[in-house]
Symmetry: C2
Subunit: 285 residues, 2 copies
């Protein structure tokens, strides 16, 4: 079970992309008897997951209508949660509000994160209060140090440092946030395919011998109110299947969903999960 | 046909990894009646390719024996060419020389490129002259501007700039050198899987609509005497199969092998190939 803490007041609108995070937020609200509504983004949010909760559907290209829906629901705060892929401009079918927004911010020149920052700014310019997932699910943020029974050994720490270094370089360029490193070799880097598929690829690129670490970090300039990177029990399962020795996530920058199940799975398989400081990747050459 | 120019004197030892580059060098030497020998690295160099040329085999873990072989062959200059993956330390089975070399340079803390620089330094410390592939195949280096009939349009240039920016960030961290970008979205980033497989993955991640550019660059700190990144007709075929609109390579930093065939293939399929300056990726935000 996830331990939630609620730092919010009033009705909460959860703008919901894919994955388990929006539902975890909705359940936290329900548990704490806080009013909420899910605004499921078509093509991303999972219909089955939304069913048991108050929800509406919205198109990602219809930012104007999303804002109107939040006002109709009289929600006082907005959380963005879950995975969203930037669609092609052709598939976006933007409403008038979105057309103007894109014209202003020049979407094509931005990475995902730059775009999300601009969308948040647009919501705030409309008088809506955008709060972070972490303020609703504070206990889900990774802390420094081992989460489960196991801790990285010296060899794993060398791979973690290398992974943090590469992930930080990627993050500064607003591209990708996860890598797999084994014996100092960067096996795979995540871009648009998602962490689980990247980890599965790393399994096919592994060298003989022990080791291999998944490192996942927030982007240094990431607006932490917006969607933070997530791991969960599925991520651990992917790492186990790939024969990795562990997972390092940025302390304070990555959410661990379904924490107890994730830790149990890691403990059972002999994997470590550890929170690592961004500074632990400083080049030592 | 490749147009070669030879800037070398005396016998040339080609330390041969995988791919087409070692053979292109051997053929350039033969064409220009320069004495040469291929030192095929077991597990990397293609046996069939070496057959028609004077060659020996060597293990990548036996650096001492590679140096001894070069001396026995009385080669005056050494070229490293072709793709080599860093093996696991377990698979390396290092000879005594290699053990000492690794102890000195601390292989695990280095990326591929850092390691290669150290190997080159070790060869030079042994009195061998290490020269670059580009000095043997000067005409194979990409020049600025379009190589074939087509040139990137404004949309493609936006993707090229983004790709150059991400590839440069990766290169500075000594990890990866190729990315695919479409409509500003980084679809895929190369690590250990190689460019062709990365491009094939990008095809599955493409958004609707036109575009998609493969960007391949040398690492900024790369020792250019060592193995430079390469594209060839196979790379073009992969880009065509992936539905990309073109390929941008770093002018002066990437070798285009089998240039006429590569250009013909690109022209036939309506793809551009262009040499791009590293500075063209400067962030414009």
């Amino acid at each position: 079970m996830l331990q939630e803490s609620l730092g919010l007041e009033g009705k909460c609108a959860i703008v919901a992309g894919g994955g388990a995070l929006p539902l975890a937020l909705a359940e936290a609200c329900r548990t704490h008897e806080r009013p909420y509504v899910l605004l499921g983004l078509e093509g991303f949010a999972e219909a089955g997951a939304l069913k048991g909760h108050p929800h509406r559907w919205a198109r990602i290209g219809a930012v104007g209508r999303v804002i109107a829906a939040i006002r109709e629901e009289a929600a006082t705060e907005v959380v963005f949660a879950g995975h969203v892929r930037r669609p092609s401009l052709a598939a976006l079918r933007p409403d008038l509000y979105t057309v103007r927004l894109l014209a202003r911010i020049g979407a094509k020149a931005l990475g995902d994160d730059g775009l999300m920052r601009q969308v948040a700014a647009a919501f705030e310019a409309e008088g809506l209060k955008v709060v972070g997932v972490a303020s609703v699910l504070a206990d889900a943020l990774a802390q420094p140090g081992p989460l489960g029974r196991l801790a990285p050994d010296a060899t794993a720490w060398e791979d973690i440092r290398r992974g943090v270094e590469v992930a930080a370089a990627l993050g500064r360029a607003d591209a990708g946030q996860a890598v797999v490193v084994q014996q100092g070799i960067v096996l795979a880097i995540e871009a648009a395919e998602g962490t689980d598929r990247m980890v599965a690829r790393a399994a096919r690129l592994r060298r003989e011998g022990p080791g291999g670490v998944l490192v996942k970090m927030a982007k240094p300039q990431q607006d932490r109110r917006m969607d933070l990177p997530v791991i969960g029990a599925d991520t651990v399962a992917a790492a186990v299947a790939a024969g990795l020795s562990g997972i390092a996530v940025e302390a304070g920058g990555v959410l661990v969903l379904d924490r107890e199940a994730a830790i149990r799975r890691a403990d059972d398989a002999g994997l470590f999960i550890t929170g690592a400081e961004p500074g632990s990747g400083a080049p030592r050459r």
